[in-house]
Amino acid sequence: MKKRMALTLLALLTIVMAACSSSGGADSPGTDSGESGSGKTAQKPVTLTLLSHYVGQNEVAFKPYIDQWNSENPDIQIKLTPVDFGELLRTIMTKQTAGQAPDLMHIYTLWGGQLAKNNVLAFAPDDVAADIEANYPASAVAASSIDGRVYGYPTEVQAYGLFYNKKLLQEAGYGGPPKTWDELIEMAQHIERDDGSGMPSVQGFGFLRGYAGKVVQPFMALMATAGGTLLTDDMSAAALDTEAAKRTIDLYAKVYGKDGITDIGFPTQQAFGSGKAAMTIEAGWWAGSLKTLMKDGYADIGAAPLPSPDGLTQGSLAYTWAWSVNAKSKHQEEAWKFLKWFNTQKVKNDMTPQGNFLLEGFNVISTRASDMESETIKRKLEEDPVTKVFADALQYARPEQNPAAAAEIQDALFKQIENMWADKATKEEALAAAQKEIQAKLGK
């Protein structure tokens, strides 16, 4: 038996030596960024790395346009690095530390401040900046700028709205979605059903949860319908001591927690997809997801502008993603050249590659003026009332504010809201604590 063990060990050691030597071989420079680093002269083909969260199905929709560019531009080749959304910010930060800065990045503009502070973002050349300022909605341009200087092409600009299940509303005797916050709560209570197991069997209204943005963005969107923003306009101070903030947190306190109308453990996102939740708040992209998941059941889904305290004010929040170029990239000129093509050149259906990709990949419409005027999009908006609701919301939605500590700030508010829902803090305490924490992070 000892002998056998010795033999096993010997075999193991041999494999290891092999593994070590082969992994040692991978050490030599041969990665793509290495190639791009050496290609300083203009004639030599340049490989640009592109980091985005377009994985899986999205990557499949995205790739044809990259392939098209690569075949038309042998001198400037694009290589995709897809990562999951949950890893994207960390990937950007770690790659930058490692000296592996991707040349092109698709970023969530909320991170703009943090990335700019750490010198990750290159500002757009003048012609690009002028084009962007002229062709995109003001909120998208604002989100893609730092201190008034544009750093990227806005891509997915998504506003929040109310999703509802027509069938569940009808069964409870309602002809349409709520207009005011009071109606929202009242209808939700009527629709909610309990099978006595401790968990609702049908939920009237619930917020989606999971990570900071998912909770905080609807908060800011609802706050907008009450006429408020998270930070002051110059982003120098927290604005959670306003009347709008108090009313919004009041609404939030009515949904979950000890005075809540429903149970926080109920998985609203899943349940909505299986017709067991009547109303929730999410951004427009979700319609595409629901369509895939629900198949025929999708016919029951409706969308409406967010209810407001008075039933008259229109308000929402639009978050923005943007194509940007890395300040550490050695090929910024080539990178902007690619982005110009991808975002402004009409390639098919009278739309830009970006416009086509958004529609095919997410069922989302591009916000570039020329794309929005295309026949394809006009037809789409006529056929699809859900998409129209969210497209209209872009006109009045506010941009997400992006100071350097934006991600941390959303995190702070997120944790306070959850504390309140967990009855660890009253709504007044939660709001005051968030105000104080945000203020401290702004001061840094």
């Binding site: 109920f266 604590a433 401290a440």
Partner: protein, 300 residues
């Protein structure tokens, strides 16, 4: 060979044998330790050494300030998690080790109890995440069958930390059991025979013979699993992402990880690491002192 040169030769070969390990320690342990200590007094985004800014004690002051979430709930959660998982895994593993030593198919039982310990925490976390599902999870189904009402384990902040602790404890049973079994096997059979002659029952035998003789193993299990518990955060990361709801399940390791790699606050993150290191150091010293007073030789 004179005695003197003999000793000299051992000196040389001693350090030769130690050199791979010591070289590693210098490079991946001593240097990083000092670097990290230095970073804890600075503000730095992790990109460019030129941008490091010395801030003195500011990071520590911020972490100890009243509004900081680090001491409470994050550090308290860390300790609760460590105590909880150690308590569960220790009690269960002691019982299991003691019982299976006197059963048939000992190897089979041991294998079954050890399975979670060979499984990646990513898998464990995701399985339990699904089992804890408020609507279609196994655990709620079990509660329902017992006539109890459904719970949203990971969403209810009063239950969330406890729910993760249960998984951590469940996970730790296997390895503790193994070490305790080794300790049990080392107890000479004569002691048991003597006890039997005296007419001592199972329980008395355990209290007066087994447990005192098992003390070194017990100490080893308690210290290592407690240190492990204070550091661990993979399970929390897989099950609740950033330690939610709110900060209800957030632990020091996870918070440090997010501060450093997501928000680029490397200084704050390093300071957190050192505070936790201080805690672990103190706790270990206390545990060792307690056991030494109990008459147990340590491993020197």
């Amino acid at each position: 060979m004179t005695k003197h040169s003999y000793a000299n030769k051992q000196w040389l070969s001693g350090y030769l044998f130690l050199s791979p390990a010591l070289l590693f320690y210098a490079l991946f342990l001593v240097f990083p330790f000092c670097f990290s200590l230095f970073l804890s007094f600075t503000e730095w985004g992790g990109f460019d050494l030129a941008t490091i800014r010395w801030v003195g004690l500011a990071n520590y002051r911020q972490l100890f300030s009243a509004e900081s979430a680090f001491l409470h709930p994050i550090l308290t959660n860390t300790f609760t998690f460590a105590f909880g998982t150690v308590a569960i895994s220790f009690v269960c593993s002691l019982a299991v080790a003691y019982m299976i030593a006197r059963l048939r198919w000992e190897g089979l039982w041991r294998t079954l109890y050890f399975l979670p310990s060979v499984t990646t925490v990513v898998a464990i976390g995701n399985i339990w995440l699904y089992m804890y599902s408020p609507t279609n999870g196994l655990v709620n189904k079990a509660l329902e069958l017992l006539g109890l009402s459904k719970q949203s384990f990971l969403h209810d902040p009063d239950l969330a930390l406890g729910s993760i602790i249960v998984v951590g404890g469940w996970l730790g049973i296997g390895s503790s059991m193994l070490i305790l079994t080794a300790g049990l096997k080392a107890i000479p059979e004569d002691y048991y025979e003597a006890a039997e002659l005296e007419g001592a029952g199972l329980w008395k035998t355990f209290v007066f013979i087994t447990f005192p003789l098992l003390r070194p193993s017990v100490m080893f299990v308690l210290i290592t699993s407690f240190i492990g518990g204070l550091q661990s955060f993979t399970l929390t990361m897989v099950m609740t992402g950033t330690g939610g709801p709110g900060n209800a399940t957030n632990v020091a390791g996870l918070e440090m990880y997010n501060q450093a790699f997501s928000f680029g606050n490397w200084g704050i993150a390093s300071a957190m690491a050192f505070i936790l290191f201080a805690c672990i150091f103190i706790m270990t010293m206390i545990q060792m002192a307690l056991f030494r007073r109990g008459g147990v030789e340590s491993y020197e």
